[in-house]
Amino acid sequence: MMRSQNRYLSFCGDKSWVAVLILLVAFWSGCDLPWEPGPMPTELIETEFEKGLNVFGLLRDDGISGSSFIRVEQAIKVDEFNDTMSVDIRNADVTIMHNASSATYSFQFEEDTARGNLFFNPYFTPAEGETYTLTVKAESFPTIFASATIPQRPGIQNSSFSEKSYNFDLVMTEDTGMYEVYLFLEGGGAVYEKVINDGKEKKKLSLKIPDSYGSPYLLNIYGYDPQLTEYTNAAVTLRWNTYQETVTTVEGGYGAFGAVTVFSSWLNP
């Protein structure tokens, strides 16, 4: 046994320098330090940055003039990002045309720190069922085009109160992709429900009223057109080095142009 162990140990002793050499080579191979950027990836597909405007155009049918707005920004390259830069585009030419009459409305930039820097037209009031086309032009950017149709105003039927809930049938129309329902309560709270249009004519809703709040006094239902529904529901991830689809509902750039219509009903429980 002793002799065989000596054989094993001498085997290791004779060949250990080989192992050390291999380890050293492996150890130093591709050595890089933490303060260096590290080995860079290899490009497989040449991918160019597509310059363009990024807009959020919102047509709001709530019976109030000037509640619609458009925000205009630009997309930026990864290496253009820094703490002091601004993506706002303030000198864009923003117009909305009523398709049926070809009437054109020009939107002007207003600096408003409360609402964000937006383009407004105080006299513009969209009408239910009408289609409008947005055009945004800015120097050195492709022009953006998009259309939106104002959905029919939401409606309810068979409403009733019970001790703990407010019940009704939400009437859904084809031109609306999604409804957001708010039941405002005395004391400052609200009950919220989101309803995706599944193609049926009606949907029964029963909004539960929490014990800690007062009676409901106002029901607001907001109907989104399909473009706005798709854009606002699109999944977004902040994971880097990860593919994600950029959902856009405009042509010539990024962003969305859609419409929301408002139904309001004061309640007497």
Binding site: P34, P39, T42, L44, I76, K77, S86, L238, E245, T246
Partner: protein, 785 residues
Amino acid sequence: MIKSRIISHTIFKRFLLLYFACLSPSLLFPSTISGYVADVETGETIIGVNVIVEGTELGASTDINGFFVVTGIPEGNITLRFSHIAYEEKRENVDLGAKNIFLETVLLVPTMLEGEAIEVVANRGNIIKTETDIASFQVDPVILREVPQLGKDVFELVKYSPSVTIGDEFSPLYNVRGSDPSENLVQLDGMTIYNPQHLFGYGAIFNPLMIKNIEMLVGGFDAEYGGRNASILYLTSREGHQSEVHGEFRPSISGFVGAVEFPAGKGTAMLSGRFTSDIVPRVIMGMGNLWADFNGSYQRKFRNTRIKLSAFLARDYIDFDAARYVIYYDIPELRDYSVGNRTNALNRAFGLRTRSILTPKLVLETHVYSSAFDVDNQTFLRVVVEDTINNIDVTLMNETDMQNTISDVTLKANLSYFTFWDQTVKVGFESNDYRFSNRASLQFTEGVKTRDSAQLLSFFIQDQVQLGPLLAKAGIRSARFFPETSWRTEPRISSSLRLGRITLKTAWGQYRQYLSSMNTADVEVTPQSVDYYYPLKGMTPLFSEHTIVGVESKVSDRLELTVTGYLKDLPTLYRYDFGNTRQAILTHQALLEQGKGRARGVETMLRGEVGRLSGWVAYAYSVAERSFPGFQNGDWYLADGDQTHSFKSLLMLKVTPDITASTTLQLTSGFPKTFETGWVSKYTYDPVTNLMGEFFQYLTPAKNNVRFPTRMFLELGWKKKLRAGFGYRLSEYLGASDSYLTWTVQNILFLRRNPMGYFYIPEYGYYGYGILSLPIVSAGYSIKF
């Protein structure tokens, strides 16, 4: 006239006699011998024992049940020789006569192996019958004990197969030959286990102390296996010691690993468990964490029937938030920063299996089991960034909540008939009853819980025949996925031709899969660590076609070289389109977009033993691509996990009889990843106030447009049987028979970064970040009794 009639009648009779003789040689040589081979001390059946009929070229080897069948034996007295490297050779005289014999159990005496290499080659000893499993990666689970840097993890081990790639360092999901992770089937004693891994790379949920055999089929598998297209990882658990209580226990500061096997009445039982809860992150970061798994089995042998009851349970819980760690650093920019996940997962299975030797030539197996998996996985990222232009704070948020339940109740049975020409005819059926529950909430979209059910009924028939040096196998599987009315067939053929020391192998087959898993790797904040299962009801099942050609060559008695080439056509694949979330709320199937894929590659593997060195060295070249019509104009792009070149090795050296040194090396191409081209604001809208908000979103026009740098991992391990010292005396005090000390050194190449991702830092550029910045040295202690 009469003379010619007599002559023709005689000739006709002789023809008939010759015809039936050729058709049924068993009529002339009727004997078949079958039986089990087991360890005389433990009673455990032995895999890979050579059984040879002396004086003939007839023989067989024991299968994963320790069962052998030798057919076509001439009647009379014969001697069977049983040989296995770990056991003393045994001879058994059998008086056959014109009958078939079931030997019940032949017992072998183990030998002590001094200074020999640890055997890792599946075909131990001299196998007479060469298997036609062309794409089989089979290893002895002793590797999990001898190579401590594997962490006793089955999935860590299979990563060293040249056929396996991974898509993310922290994801336990793996790809096999260009297929998706959800196309891999993992079975424990025949029970399908869903999500057979602990969360976030904490290893497989199988206790290595209870594993008896590990076999992975990476393509070209038999008609017996269905429901998955890429691979079958088949784990066999130990049966238990028949006469004494034996076990192994490995304590650590974060938990324990243990197993005990013992006689239980007229049968044997085995219990094993693992429990881990890392104390350091719990104390420093308040990170709740728990990884636990328990396994139990009871086996009883009747005269010709063996039954096995198996039960399994695994529980994972993790509550991680990096904000609890960041507070130790004074970084103002990271105020109000939160990223992590909260995950609960429960996995369980229970089954009863029987194996009956109806006659020496006829074996019936039945199996009924229930397997289920639940998970609720919430991931989140929340960062507050100061907008100095508008003097406001901008909150960036990304939240997901995936809930998934799958339940599978299965009844299956198969009948094997061993007949002439070393033929094995196998027929069987499988009935799966599935239940699903799913809910996916992404960012600001609340998901709707959907429940579904489905049934899959499958039948198969398979024939394997040996004609001299040629072994051929043909089978067909037919399945119906209710409530559909159509039956879909999957033909499969394979062959093996032995030419001296070289064996040529081919395989071709079609495979269908009726379950899909949602790939959330691009959506969840933390790496995807579970499959979320959905039934493909009313949709074309996943479909793939494999063509494999290979050559095996015996370089020496204990060294084998294999070269395998494969082509995989994946004409039906699915991709989850998360942009279409409006429909996602209505029905999850609306998320699916059908596409296709393809994969090809060549794998070379040198494995076996040279003196006291054992293990394998492997190289693979592979390409895996995908194409979806509504995605990137339908252009082909590289699949996640594609690795063009990979070099892997796992080597063990028996330094002394008590010391084993090991090394593991991975040198692979980097993964295809997506590099951003820019940023754009993603807008939000509040209808009540008529105000909008926004946060930044990356622009990624092309998927997998860059390849990360080459990955290099080198680790060393050391295992020593204790003969003196505190550890030895402690084990003696505890009544243990042996004690071991292990050392591992991981991330030896710590000066080389393996980037996991790239941040873009303004005015600096891209910075590649990785983990494992320093070598990790760890030690372990275990006792056996």
